[in-house]
């Protein structure tokens, strides 16, 4: 495309299927302890 460049390929919808294993880190345990940032956590789904 000439006018649009897409930065990422994986859509959130595609994570619905295998998502929800719960093995990832709890957001508040990492560094903040006073806010809630979930978007920066890593996926740890090994399936």
């Amino acid at each position: 495309m000439k006018h649009i460049k897409t930065l990422n390929k994986k859509s959130l919808q595609s994570t619905l299927k295998k998502g929800g294993c719960g093995e990832c880190q709890t957001s508040c345990q990492s560094a903040c302890k006073t806010s809630c940032t979930v978007g920066n956590q890593k996926c740890e789904n090994k399936k």
Binding site: K2, H3, I4, T6, N8, C28, A31, C36
Partner: protein
């Protein structure tokens, strides 16, 4: 929903429901502005809108001096992305909430208040010098901690990774019990098929080589608290005698960080309205040789708390920090900043993004007395006690309230582009400011939104540089 914004010369479209990010030129940005306006006025559907090329080209051409050929081309690309479910995608997640709630029926993370006592008396401490509103300084016994770990194992279902954060007060004031509990945890891992991820949050006052060696061996992450420049740190982070802590803790943190090497750790600062120029504190961290950084806004109504009128300066400061972040990456001297670490492709699944921090459901806090709270921030507010380590969860009403709160139960989240990055925000902040976990802490929201915008812009800037290399 598409969030369109310009930052540092990048025009960015965040397709909220797919999480896809597009970097676009002025022509596309202009057209998206018109489409968004029509959606807002109810003239167009917010998901998969039918874009009439002839109508939109006429409108855009009448309002701008853009060339017809370019506008038609841009419109065609926009339509193509809509057709590919990459722009104005539909929110298909709300029906997934039962799955989210089912997931939250096991506990996987625990904030273990190993010491309700502290060797500092930081003025902004939400734990009030470790006492948590109770005026009761106490240390957790090994027996209570052991029961807490057993409780976690028993209530964690099939989860393998279990997180235990040693927290306080100052956890190193009860280091012997920390060591005993880690040993106990390790001794049952195999039999119970669990993997304990121990972490510890410390003010570094008691750090020494022996403790450092233990932490480096056993802790998956260590969070070290310091606020940045000496005068900033020493204004808030003081000893019980009122003396600044900077000179005491800096050499200890430097030594520890050096020994820690590549293992996870964070230098974590707090900023207040006294240091809204907190990029200078980040710079101080960098000058001290620290590279894994976090700096969090203080959450309070006290006179040093963040006010609405401070927001413009804070927004500028996050932009400044983002520029520093990019510059250092380009120079080959990178650092990490907790809130800018967004992985657009390997980030958390949408189920996680719907469920938020998990407080009161997946995540709990345990006090030295063995009381269970929904999270560390509620400790000391006794109406939030949900059980204890001897009898388990006794009050399910509170966990149910937390479980049912989501971006779909909070009005303010409905039209917010950042909802899948903060998952509706911190329930404790909501409670502290509105006495309702289904409300939001709006000043916190504004800062969160800015951090998300900056984090995405950084991706765009770094992608562009990579392309040119």
């Amino acid at each position: 929903m598409v969030h369109a914004y310009s930052l540092e010369g990048y025009n960015i479209l965040l397709d909220v429901n797919s999480g896809l990010v597009h970097v676009v030129d002025e022509i596309v940005l202009n057209i998206i502005g018109t489409i968004n306006q029509d959606i807002e006025e109810g003239k167009l559907s917010s998901s998969c809108p039918e874009i009439d090329v002839s109508e939109y080209s006429k409108r855009v051409l009448s309002e701008t001096d853009l060339k017809e050929e370019d506008v038609l081309e841009a419109l065609s690309e926009i339509r193509e992305l809509i057709g590919q479910d990459a722009l104005y995608t539909k929110d298909i997640y709300e029906p997934q909430l039962p799955k989210v709630h089912a997931r939250q029926s096991v506990i996987k993370a625990m904030c273990l208040h190993i010491a309700h006592d502290c060797n500092l008396a930081c003025k902004y401490c939400f734990a009030e010098g470790g006492e948590y509103h109770s005026h009761d300084r106490s240390l957790m016994s090994f027996e209570t901690g052991k029961k807490a770990l057993d409780f976690l194992v028993e209530n964690s279902g099939a989860r393998i990774n279990l997180e235990v954060d040693f927290f306080g007060g100052e956890p190193l004031m009860n280091f012997d019990v920390v060591k005993q509990l880690v040993a106990y945890g390790r001794s049952i891992e195999k039999e119970k098929n669990k993997n304990f991820r121990f972490t510890l949050t410390t003010n570094a006052v008691l750090l020494n080589d022996e403790i450092g060696e233990f932490l480096n061996r056993e802790m998956a992450n260590v969070v070290l608290s310091i606020d940045g420049r000496k005068e900033v740190n020493d204004r808030m982070r003081v000893t019980r005698g009122g003396k600044g802590s900077y000179d005491m803790i800096v050499p200890k943190i430097q030594r520890f960080v050096k020994q820690r090497g590549d293992k996870d750790h964070y230098i974590r600062g707090t900023f207040t309205r006294y240091n809204l120029d907190f990029t200078n504190d980040i710079q101080e961290f960098l000058d001290l040789g620290f590279e894994n950084l976090s700096i969090e806004p203080v959450v309070t109504t006290a006179d040093y708390g963040i006010r609405e009128e401070d927001l413009p300066q804070i927004m500028e400061e996050y932009e400044k920090l983002a520029r520093l972040y990019i510059d250092r990456r380009v120079e080959g001297r990178p650092f990490t900043f907790f809130h800018f670490m967004i992985d657009l492709d390997q980030g958390p699944c949408v189920i996680k993004r719907l469920s938020g921090c998990g407080s009161g459901t997946e995540y709990i806090a345990v006090t030295p007395k063995g009381e269970i709270y929904p999270c560390h921030q509620f400790v000391g507010q006794e109406e939030f006690i949900i059980g204890n380590v001897d009898e388990g969860i006794l009050n399910n009403d509170i966990p149910d309230q937390f479980r049912n709160a989501s971006v779909y139960t909070k009005d303010k989240c409905d039209q917010c582009f950042a909802k899948f990055y903060c998952s509706g925000g911190c329930p404790a902040n909501s409670w502290n400011f509105s006495k309702d976990i289904n409300k939001v802490y709006e000043i916190g929201c504004e800062m969160q939104k800015k951090r998300v915008e900056c984090a995405i812009m950084i991706k765009a800037a770094l992608a562009e540089r990579e392309e040119h290399e």
